[in-house]
Subunit: 428 residues, 2 copies
């Protein structure tokens, strides 16, 4: 008997038919002899509908009340799923985040899990029931207020619960068959990856692959938990995201890691580039600039400092950041322009980021050559470059991004013969 945590996203439970389909799958899993915990997101459009209502009554809704509002979404889907499971002959009990012991910090809207106390869930399983847990939500340890975890929160809930319950696997059900070598909407010949290391998946997620959220992969990697990303619309095997190959893989013999050179190509259209022009080239200025940015609670991605132009003793510093945080960062910098002594700020949100990920590239010196050659052959100009041991990322013009992704995908022989199937798209 295994303990399996299954997470279903909003597109899998978008209507009654979807909920009944998920319920059947859950009951089948239990009937196959497993203990099952289900983490569920809000139904399809619920999140958007609730956000729309909130926008109608308030321009800047208080964060606490927004969390109270949004958590109604999973409350609805989890109760309906419990009912649907009983229609399929199973017995299930639903739990809110706080009932399931998801203890978070007190930051409304993007709370982080600081502890998981799943004793009510464990008791529920011990009674032979299916436990259904609301994703995305928890309770603050200090204030006892209801919190939500922001994007990727439901995946993170599932992985955190799986780790706390010492589950054998966390299955993330979504509207695609698994993780692809590139976004199938951009590269129709992208192929499903059958196994990928947590490390690579982390780079994929950080580079814009939306299928799994960074936090959830980080969590799974830390606890050595295998994730199986698959579609709730089919019974096909999906993608196994496996912890470090040094760890024992518990699941089955077929999933031992064999490292391909390249796992895939990820891209990201959500970033903007800020260039701080004419920064005095003296020690401490970069630290000052990034201190200001950090004070505005902005997450910076890539950073490039150009070589100081001879004689001027001035330099330019460029960095990328989420487009939605652009205004705050600019305002914070402008407020301290005199103190830092820079000349100008240039903001560019017409950029795209492309990343090539593969654990094999650290021992393959030819990878970066082939990468830049492919971009050059496709006539794509490169704006910024950054690398890690298993990733190369470049920033290009936004309107050249798709061509760049396709060129790189083809250059590394990732194209398959069939076109991938694409369904909807989800948020949480």
């Amino acid at each position: 008997m295994s303990l399996i945590v299954q997470k279903y996203g909003g597109s899998s439970v978008s209507d009654a038919a979807g909920i009944l389909r998920v319920a059947r799958r859950v009951v089948e899993t239990q009937n196959a002899g497993h203990e099952v915990v289900v983490v569920v997101s809000a139904m399809g459009d619920t999140t958007d509908e609730l956000l729309d209502l909130s926008a109608q009554v308030s321009e800047h809704p208080p964060a606490r009340e927004l969390d109270m509002l949004m958590t109604a979404g999973e409350r609805i889907s989890m109760a309906l799923l419990a009912m649907a499971i009983s229609s399929h002959g199973g017995v299930a009990q639903s739990f809110t985040g706080s009932q399931a012991g998801m203890i978070t910090d007190g930051i409304h809207g993007k709370a982080r899990i600081i502890d998981v106390d799943p004793h009510r869930v464990r008791t529920c399983l011990d009674k032979g029931k299916v436990a259904i847990v609301a994703g995305f939500q928890g309770m603050s340890r200090t204030t006892h207020e209801i919190t939500t975890m922001g994007r990727g929160g439901s995946d993170t809930t599932a992985v955190a619960l799986a780790a706390a319950l010492n589950a054998d696997v966390c299955e993330i059900y979504t509207d695609v068959d698994g993780v692809y070598t590139a976004d199938p909407r951009v590269v129709p010949t992208a192929q499903k990856i059958s196994k990928i290391s947590s490390e690579e998946m982390l780079e994929m997620a950080a580079s814009g692959a939306k299928i799994l959220h960074l936090r959830c992969v980080e969590y799974a990697r830390r606890f050595g938990l295998p994730i199986h990303v698959r579609s709730s619309f089919s019974d096909h095997e999906g993608t196994w995201v496996l912890p470090s190959p040094d760890d024992k893989i518990k699941i089955s013999e077929g999933v031992a890691l064999e490292q391909p050179i390249i796992s895939g190509v990820a891209h990201d259209r959500s970033e903007a580039k800020v260039t701080v022009v004419g920064v005095p080239d003296i020690p401490g200025k970069a630290a000052m600039i990034f201190g200001i940015i950090a004070g505005a609670h902005t997450n910076i991605d890539m950073i490039v400092q150009n070589i100081s132009t001879k004689g001027t003793a001035k330099t330019d510093i460029s960095f990328t950041l989420p487009m939605v945080e652009g205004e705050d960062a600019l305002a914070a910098l402008r407020a301290q322009q005199a103190e830092v002594g820079f000349e100008d700020l240039i903001y560019d949100d017409k950029i795209g980021k492309l990343s090539l990920i593969g654990a094999g590239m650290r021992s393959n010196p030819g990878v970066s050559h082939r990468f830049f050659q492919a971009l050059s052959d496709a006539g794509v100009n490169i704006d910024l470059i950054s690398t890690s041991e298993i990733r190369i990322s470049v920033v290009t013009r936004a309107d050249r991004l798709d061509a760049a992704v396709r060129a790189v995908h083809q250059a590394f022989g990732l194209d398959g013969e069939d076109e991938a199937t694409v369904y909807g798209g989800t948020g949480r």
Copy 2:
């Protein structure tokens, strides 16, 4: 400074505009120097939409999960109201039933309040904030499960909170201006009652007046709490429901009780009549029959036992009960027909009940004469009669009920000159 508990029903918060209108009223009340606690129902159609979803996934949804589902409704409206209050410059905090300390028994779907521990609400008021509390829901003392209170639950929440907080008044906002001398949809010339005793209001509610639920009036009467029933669509004074005239009325000098002879005419179309035919006329048989009915958890209203027909030593017992509980009651009786020894059961759901209520009638012997004369002049046949000190009720044919109500209303001089305004209609 007074402490005012305001309860808004679903029709008052049916959309964003309604929520903003309620928010403005709440902020105005606070700005006038009062402490304000708001109890809110689910938005307009939410309850029906959630019930519809549940019906799509389950024929007999587990009661625990149904409560979990339904409580999402108030969660949405209370969070939106808190946001809307902040848009109007106020500061509010929303509380679920369990956060507000509404402790109930464990009967899902019709839980009863057994304790109220409003310390979080009190703290919120002490900080100068408006407290918003989800109506209709609580938490079971023993199981810590989320419960709902069934019909009238939001009104009862408001009154129970008002009593626990020692509030000065509980304002029940609805879609009509107050309590009328009859249902304005049946009697267009019905007049708004400006003051009515809790005792009479209790009889009105028990007799089918839907504006206030029986449980809430009972609660207010027990705690000596004045209720002000009024419309959220206007600023008019509504109807004051005042505890016993012996109690000190705290509100204002204008509301001291002066007892009119008759308060109003109530009617009810939701009951059915069961006649148990040919019951052996020996002691203990009636107790046996009503024991069976009680075992089926059915609430009986009127009971009439006909005089035993000479020689047969048999009698007929008739009673009325909610139509929705009719089948269960009949099944329970049939299952023990042999033991009780009755001959037959007659079920009649084409009946209507009319009640005349007035604390003044106990000292006015002419009331019942005028009452029956009016019915007779209108050609209405009477099926059953029952009375209390301040009420006369009769059962008539359903298709004669409206005519009967109008005749009695006119006979007691209750008709006004203007027609009443009627808006929508709510549930919880």
